[in-house]
């Protein structure tokens, strides 16, 4: 999957879960850049992304990402 396609799909998940149509993610977006993206909603996003891409993250992976791009690296490894 192209990374541009992947980030579009992730963007849609963010819009749905955080209920905010205006979210535009790029690979360097961090939690601090999105208002509703707090630690609690983070886990809801993670679970939705797992479902969407039919993968499971480990606890360690979930805690390791610094931005959207790093999360996409993990997804890329898993769906490869």
């Amino acid at each position: 999957m192209e990374r541009s396609q992947m980030i579009r799909e992730i963007n849609d998940i963010f819009i749905d879960i955080l209920d905010n149509e205006e979210i535009v993610l790029n690979e360097s977006t961090q939690a601090a850049d999105v208002d509703e993206w707090d630690s609690l909603n983070h886990i809801q996003l993670v679970v939705a992304i797992e479902k969407h891409f039919k993968i499971r993250f480990t606890s360690k992976e979930i805690q390791s990402w610094n931005n959207v791009g790093e999360m996409m690296d993990t997804i890329e490894q898993k769906i490869a």
Binding site: D16, I17, L40, I43, V47, A48, F57, S59, I62
Partner: protein, 573 residues
Amino acid sequence: MKSFTQIKKNLKNDFSNLKPIRTAILGDSATQFLTQAIRGLGYDAGLDLQMWEADFNQIELQVSDTNSELYEFKPEIIIIFQSAHKLLGKYNKLKGDGHSALAANEMAYINRLTETLSAHTNAKIIYYNYTEIDDSVFGNFSLKAEISFLFQLRKLNYELMVYAAQTPNFYLCDIKTIQNHLGKPTFFQSTVYINTEMVLSIDSLPYVASKTVDIIAALNGKFKKCVILDLDNTTWGGIIGDDGIENIQIGSLGIGKAFSEFQYWIKKLKNRGIIVAVCSKNTESVAKEPFEKHPDMVLRLEDISVFIANWENKADNIRQIQSILNIGFDSMVFLDDNPFERNIVRENIPEITVPELPEDPSEYLEYLYTLNLFETVSYSNEDAERTKLYQIEAQRATVQQKFTNEEDFLKSLDMVSLVEPFNKFNKPRVAQLSQRSNQFNLRTVRYTDDDIEKLSGSDDYATFAFTLEDKYGDNGLICVIILKKETPQTMFIDTWFMSCRVLKRGMENFVLNTIVDYCAQNGYSTLKGEYIATAKNEMVKDHYLNLGFEESDGFWILDVAKYNKRTTHINKK
């Protein structure tokens, strides 16, 4: 079931027209999402659940300190969620004999919590039972070893049921069956637990919240009272009019099993007090034939309160059933295999619950089990008698048509009423009627067994329970009055509710005569009433006006000295 994300979207809706209920939640694991899910699903149930959430792991602190935020919040409902995970954590730290005493010690702790709460609030407590964790230390032998965690966990779940059965304000929410239904890998997700301290997965939240809201709704008088059945391919397999009585499918062979088991389920509901009605597109005599003659039928005509079989549309027929039973559409469930009929009924009567039955009849029951349609917060022997009562009502309706003069009809009924204060025999029925009455209920204050007990022992209140019996049968306890001594001269009608079964029988007049008598004999000169409007009690809007009370500052006043006894054909028993 809605997803958690969908439920969360409800939180932005307007709750202002919904009934507010102050709901506290205390957990030993993180409960933020659960809190959101409960409030969100409350919206769908017509409730504005105003949530207060204790900080994580503060249960004992909040309960034991009577100045705590919990008591300041003045909750009407208190949800306590102590998780199996934390229970295992406790077990792990125990030494020696401690393991075998885990369930007993936890039970003693839960009892302390409940007693402290009951001493300082009137809130109803909802306690989650324990989901199962097998730590696999003993293997199968854990079931023979009292010392094992699984043994103690299951014992605790059992002891909780015993405790709940004898503790009126303590209700169990059975999340163990949700774990069973969803499977442990769905119910619990380790990454969610590790990252957030939440023991419920995102996917299990809607189910847990839904069962919780079911209890809160039932405590507030919102529950199902009646199930309406279609016949062909719902109650039995095949079409009676086409296939004939010998060819419909029911009994122990093949697909017949599915219908027999379905009928046993309906019969159990009927025995629990759910009214069973039939609504079928059939010729009446043909539709009744299996009930009368088929050896394998579980349901018989005496199980059915209202039987309607004709070729009219089902929405109109259900309206007719509703008018005979006199209960709200929102307390009815309609079961029909035909998607077309289901949609017609849904479109015309949006309040009624119409489950989307699976195509394969062998899946009906498992599907219906998951919906938890028939939540209740009480049960009395009278529930089991309800079918008969409604059948008698249908008979009375027929006789009434023969009398053109209502007075003559009422006289012909030979009605008598037994009037008693609350006592240990009528207490369960009084509490139950208090939960059930929505329409003929002037102030809609709900009382539980426990509240009734307190009232009946108090000098500040006078209580009256009325039965009504006539030549067709005994309606049982059908009306309740609670009078509160407001001043040495004034008696306030705190509660007046009546079962709609006995409307238009002159019961109101008899009741008023009785309580005015009481006031006169005990030196009260004024009787004061109040009507508090709800979505359902419009029928009694002018109740006090019609009975000759005069309005004053939003209350209704009656001068005891000037009262003329009202006409009634009911005699004191």
